[in-house]
């Protein structure tokens, strides 16, 4: 049983699905990239996987012992967060809340792990800083550190490198690859086909045509699509 299984999934607005008939699965240890044009419904798909939106049709099933409390999520930033008074430590620690239930305060193990996550992402010395004063790349790393607090098995990322400069982007991909190598399943939405794809073992393309398969299969699919129009893939 895969960790996530989507059967005949349709999502979007009632009467206006952005995609439908989507079948794919995510297995433990996968590094899956979700690609597709703007407006193809990549973020909608991710929100549907997370249960933030109800599917119009079909279903999303969790398997392989995965529960929502073992999933980390790195979303695109919301306007509220840009002027929210919060320290880096406060944001990173809040990643543990999902599994804390009603316990009101963080315990020592969680504080220690938050420190480790910050160290892993190179933001340990920013712990007391205000989140809104950080650069885009630093903010993204803070949100990733928070997601790591929640992610035990699976990490979902919505365009983690949007708006970052090339150096910071490369760093982000390095961090993700390390996480993947340490056993985390990674599902990432990306625009950045040339940079991000080499790390992925599987690709999901959504849009007018749907595709799900390995990276080599994806490349030949793209080439076959482009060929009749006379363009080189």
């Amino acid at each position: 049983m895969p960790q996530i299984l989507c059967r005949d999934l349709a999502a979007g607005y009632p009467g206006h699905p952005v995609f439908s008939g989507l079948n794919f699965s995510v297995n433990a240890g996968d590094y899956l990239c979700i690609v597709g044009e703007n407006g193809a419904g990549k973020t909608t798909l991710m929100k549907t996987l997370l249960g933030l939106r109800k599917p119009l049709a079909g279903r999303v099933e969790f398997g392989d012992g995965l529960t929502p409390r073992e999933i980390g999520y790195l979303s695109q930033q919301t306007p509220v967060q840009r002027d929210f008074p919060a320290s880096v430590r406060e944001v990173v620690l809040s990643g543990f809340q999902g599994r804390m239930g009603l316990r009101p305060f963080y315990n020592r193990a969680e504080k220690e792990q938050a420190r480790e996550n910050m160290a892993r992402l190179g933001i340990e010395d920013l712990a007391g800083h205000c989140y809104r004063d950080l650069s885009g790349g630093q903010q993204q790393r803070v949100l990733l550190a928070r997601a790591l607090g929640a992610a035990r098995k699976l990490l979902l990322l919505d365009e983690p490198v949007a708006g970052l400069d090339p150096l910071v982007t490369a760093d982000m991909y390095r961090i993700l690859r390390e996480l993947h190598q340490s056993g985390m399943t990674i599902v990432m939405i990306t625009h950045d086909v040339s940079e991000a794809l080499p790390f992925a073992n599987r690709v999901l393309h959504i849009g007018k045509r749907l595709f799900s398969g390995s990276q080599t299969e994806y490349r030949s699919w793209r080439a076959a699509l482009a060929a009749p129009a006379g363009k080189a893939g």
Binding site: L50, F84, A86, S87, V91, Q97, P104, C130, A150
Partner: protein, 284 residues
């Protein structure tokens, strides 16, 4: 100065003044703590809307002749708060429009009820008192003081126990829901607490001035501080000091309690803004 001080000391010997101070400071503390969340959730006006609902409910309660008016006002206000805060993005009437609608609707309805059915000849004074708080804080009965104190302490306890969770769902509700937290439940809890605080604050500052009372301390603290913890503590300190100063000033100078406190809170906001600017100018 000596005359003022002796006047103040004289007043402080009266139990009703002590009661007013205790209740005022407790309410100021609670409202500022949850005010931070309201401002950050972009719900600054919810206090205003709910206060007008409470005014409408108060009018209905007096027309119907209920002895214990709070017992009627509180549930009505809570229901409206829950409706306003849970509607969120899916609601057909969007947030700000819903608040404006409820706010003016309840105000008009309440005034109409009072006008049509109150036997009292002095309606405008009654209405004015409810809207601006007048001196009602000084006329609290012992039961009201106890009710206020117990409810405030309860709200304070809720805030302390849920402090981290309030931060968590306010900072990023989508993330909270994505990792399996029932964010709706926490929104409901926040709505409930806000409604209780609004009804309690009505005695102190009156319906029209409540939102100033709730949001000024939070906004002041946000000019000076940059983390959730410091903003929360800062707002509490500004609010309690403002309420203390406002109450003492109102007692000594005989000015309306609510308006005095809000004026001081507004002044504090400008001072904090100025201090923030100066500091940023110096470092930047």
């Amino acid at each position: 100065m000596d005359a003022l001080l002796s006047k103040l000391l004289l007043y402080l010997q009266y139990p009703f003044v002590i009661h007013a101070l205790i209740v005022g400071l407790l309410i100021a503390l609670c409202s500022s703590l949850f005010g931070v969340t309201l401002v950050l959730k972009r719900f600054s006006f919810i206090g205003d809307g709910l206060a007008h609902v409470a005014f409408g409910a108060m009018a209905a309660a007096s027309v119907l002749g209920f002895a214990n008016r709070t017992a009627f006002i509180l549930p009505v206000t809570i229901l409206c708060a829950v409706w306003l805060l849970r509607g969120g993005q899916s609601a057909r009437v969007k947030g700000d429009a819903a608040i404006a609608m409820i706010s003016v609707g309840a105000l008009a309805f309440g005034y109409l009820l009072l006008h049509l059915f109150t036997p009292s000849a002095n309606i405008s004074a009654d209405v004015c008192g409810t809207l601006f708080g007048s001196a009602s804080i000084l006329t609290l009965t012992e039961e009201e003081v106890w009710l206020c104190a117990v409810l405030s302490l309860l709200m304070l306890l809720v805030f302390i126990l849920f402090y981290h969770k309030i931060f968590y769902v306010t900072f990023d509700e989508d993330f909270a829901r994505a990792v399996g937290t029932n964010a709706r439940l926490y929104n409901l809890l926040i709505a409930l607490v806000i409604a209780v605080i609004i009804v309690l604050s009505m005695n102190l500052v009156g319906s029209l001035l409540i939102s100033a009372f709730v949001i000024f301390p939070a906004l002041s603290a946000m000019r000076l501080f940059a983390t959730f913890r410091t903003v929360t503590i800062g707002a509490a300190v500004v609010s309690v000091l403002g309420a203390l100063l406002g109450l003492l000033l109102a007692i000594v100078a005989g000015t309306p309690v609510g308006a005095t406190i809000v004026a001081i809170d507004a002044l504090a906001f400008f001072l904090c803004t100025l201090a923030g600017r100066l500091r940023d100018g110096a470092t930047g």
